[in-house]
């Protein structure tokens, strides 16, 4: 009911506010701006696939009941690109309201709506920004409320596709945490120094965030608290470098079934090494997560721009990930309204992630588990396969062509080739977006982006 009301409200706002984008009300200025993307995506992944979901109904007063697996049908997609052309996953619409109280205070609210795949809802309407800003001097911004995490080069305006050269930003960096945790409720400060043609911008932030996700057919709560970070960007008209670092404390409820299974196995068979090792890793509460982002941009020639970006996320927690990704993009602008961008991307798990997988595999292939618990159900093998999905390593090559129909409206097309690498030791191969594949895949995207 609440969702329907929100959608209706959103629709009404969309109809009303483009017509009134600036006004003065109650002695203050009021601005409305917006952005949107209509994006169609397609890949050559199969239309349907099955995944074996393990279930563990063992916690009964009668003792341990054998686990079992159930095959679940799903539609494979690589960051929203499935077998059929689909407009939903990457399309979005945003509205921003700015109230300027005086020269030093303003309030900004940004509502973004789109299709949702990480929860059981079919769409989302969320506030990406909702803060009060105080500018004691020009160079200093203090923001209180919901803010974006400025970890990577485009993080602050990641959903404003019109301001980017690609149809969608390279997932090796911008999908490294699967699109989760892009916002923070807290405080953010930014200070800029100017020296001749050079600008240095520093940022600091602190806050927390909670999200409800759907993983393995279960609704789980994941939360981040005590998120503290800093960033520095130094540059001039032709060159800039940027670095950011954030540490936060992560909690989830997803580890409970596995933890219970390990405990039950030890109760029956006695304590053994791989069970102890896995149990210690499954204490997945209050886990520190560290993000690191580095970016370099350069205007090499008048019409040629380079952007190289590297991101890593590190967590020893069994559910959260430890991964590295980077990309390099070369954009050539021509005939005023056209631009072509070539992008190479790479993503791999860190050794910590491989260690987690090894611990899961050691327990679920141990004689104690197989003989006393699994009893040929295949559930243990299914768990191993599920955790292998975190080990996807890939290279990607993309070409994006952009045509600016108007300064505020652009049409883009993208062709991307993604190939899994270095997974010869595993029976199945995965792309980093946890997509199972036995070969390279092609992804095609077309988008229509606008701002107003």
């Amino acid at each position: 009911m609440f969702r329907i009301l929100l959608v209706n409200l959103f629709t009404i706002l969309c109809m009303i506010f483009p017509a009134v984008t600036y006004g003065a009300t109650f002695g203050m200025d009021f601005l409305v701006n917006g952005f949107g993307t209509v994006c169609a995506s397609k890949s050559d992944l199969p239309k349907q696939a099955y995944v074996n979901i393990p279930y563990y109904p063992f916690a009964t007063t009668l003792g341990v009941v054998s686990p079992y697996i159930a095959p679940a049908e799903y539609t494979p997609a690589y960051v929203g690109a499935g077998r059929r052309w689909d407009f939903l996953p990457n399309s979005k619409f945003g509205l921003q309201f700015t109230a300027l109280f005086n020269d030093k205070f303003k309030a900004v609210t940004q509502l973004v709506g789109g299709s949702e795949s990480m929860t059981n809802n079919n769409f989302y309407v969320q506030m990406d920004w909702a803060y009060l800003q105080y500018n004691p001097v020009d160079a200093l911004d203090l923001q209180f409320g919901r803010v974006r995490l400025p970890l990577f080069y485009y993080s602050d305006y990641l959903k404003v596709n019109h301001a980017q050269p690609w149809v969608t930003p390279p997932e090796e960096v911008y999908f490294i945490s699967a699109g989760a945790f892009q916002n923070l409720d807290g405080i953010r400060a930014s200070y800029s120094f100017y020296w001749q043609d050079w600008t240095a911008n520093t940022k600091f932030w602190y806050g927390s965030m909670q999200e409800q996700l759907s993983i393995l057919n279960r609704d789980i709560i994941v939360s981040v608290r005590d998120g503290i970070g800093a960033g520095l960007q130094v540059g001039n008209d032709r060159f800039s470098i940027q670095g950011s670092l954030m540490r936060s404390i992560y909690n989830t409820t997803l580890n409970d079934p596995l933890s219970g299974l390990v405990t039950a196995t030890q109760r029956i068979t006695g304590t053994f090494a791989s069970a102890q090792q896995l149990q210690s890793m499954l204490q997945d509460t209050n886990v520190p997560i560290v993000y690191v982002g580095l970016a370099l941009s350069a205007n090499i020639l008048e019409n040629l721009d380079l952007l190289v970006e590297r991101a890593s996320i590190f967590s020893r927690g069994i559910i959260s990930t430890a991964r590295l990704g980077w990309y390099g993009s070369l954009t050539y602008s021509f005939l005023e309204k056209y631009a072509m961008t070539f992008t190479y991307g790479y993503s791999r798990p860190l050794q910590t992630e491989t260690n987690k997988y090894d611990a899961v595999k050691a327990f679920f292939t141990s004689p104690q588990y197989l003989n006393f618990i699994d009893k040929n159900s295949g559930a243990g093998a299914a768990v191993i396969n599920l955790f292998q999905t975190y080990l996807g390593e890939q290279r990607s090559y993309a070409i994006d062509l952009r045509y600016d129909i108007l300064p505020s409206v652009s049409l883009k097309g993208e062709v991307k080739y993604i190939t899994p690498i270095d997974q010869a030791a595993y029976a199945l191969k995965y792309l980093f977006a946890r997509v199972q594949t036995q070969k390279h895949i092609w992804v095609y995207r077309v988008s229509f982006d606008f701002v107003f």
Binding site: H162, D237, S333
Partner: protein, 140 residues
């Protein structure tokens, strides 16, 4: 064959010289209350990029030429956005949707610019200097 070669040469010239076709002199013009103020090139650049938002302790009212005009190309070059209307628009999208900047008004013609300059603390860009309070000249 010769015709095709000529077309190819023209296309290549367009591709590699596209940024150089719009050479202009622009004048940074201000409202009457800012007449006579001195600004350095760096200060003007920061103002035109919305990085400096206050002059004389009041908020600057920024006025751009239309994004489809040739003047925007010169302006884009001056502020370090590569002489591209797209880059300048992308920059302002970033400023607006991160809540950092208030988008400039755009004046489609001189009459509209003069009307917008009637507001105190206005700073705009014009291709003409006659009858305007010019505080800086941007030349290619």
């Amino acid at each position: 064959m010769i015709l095709y070669s000529r077309k190819l040469i023209i296309i290549l010239l367009l591709l590699f010289t596209s940024g150089a076709l719009f050479a202009d002199t622009l004048y940074v013009v201000v409202s009457d209350n800012l007449r006579g103020m001195n600004f350095s090139a760096t200060e003007i650049k920061h103002i035109l990029l919305g990085e400096v938002t206050r002059v004389k302790n009041s908020r600057v009212h920024l006025i751009y030429p239309s994004y489809s005009s040739s003047a925007i190309i010169t302006l884009s070059k001056f502020v370090g956005k590569g002489g591209s209307a797209r880059n300048l628009k992308s920059y302002w999208s970033k400023m607006i949707f991160t809540g950092r900047g208030i988008p400039p008004d755009t004046a489609d013609n001189e009459a509209e610019l003069r009307r917008l300059l009637e507001e105190d603390n206005s700073i705009g860009v014009s291709t003409q200097s006659a009858g305007m309070n010019v505080v800086f000249t941007i030349s290619e």
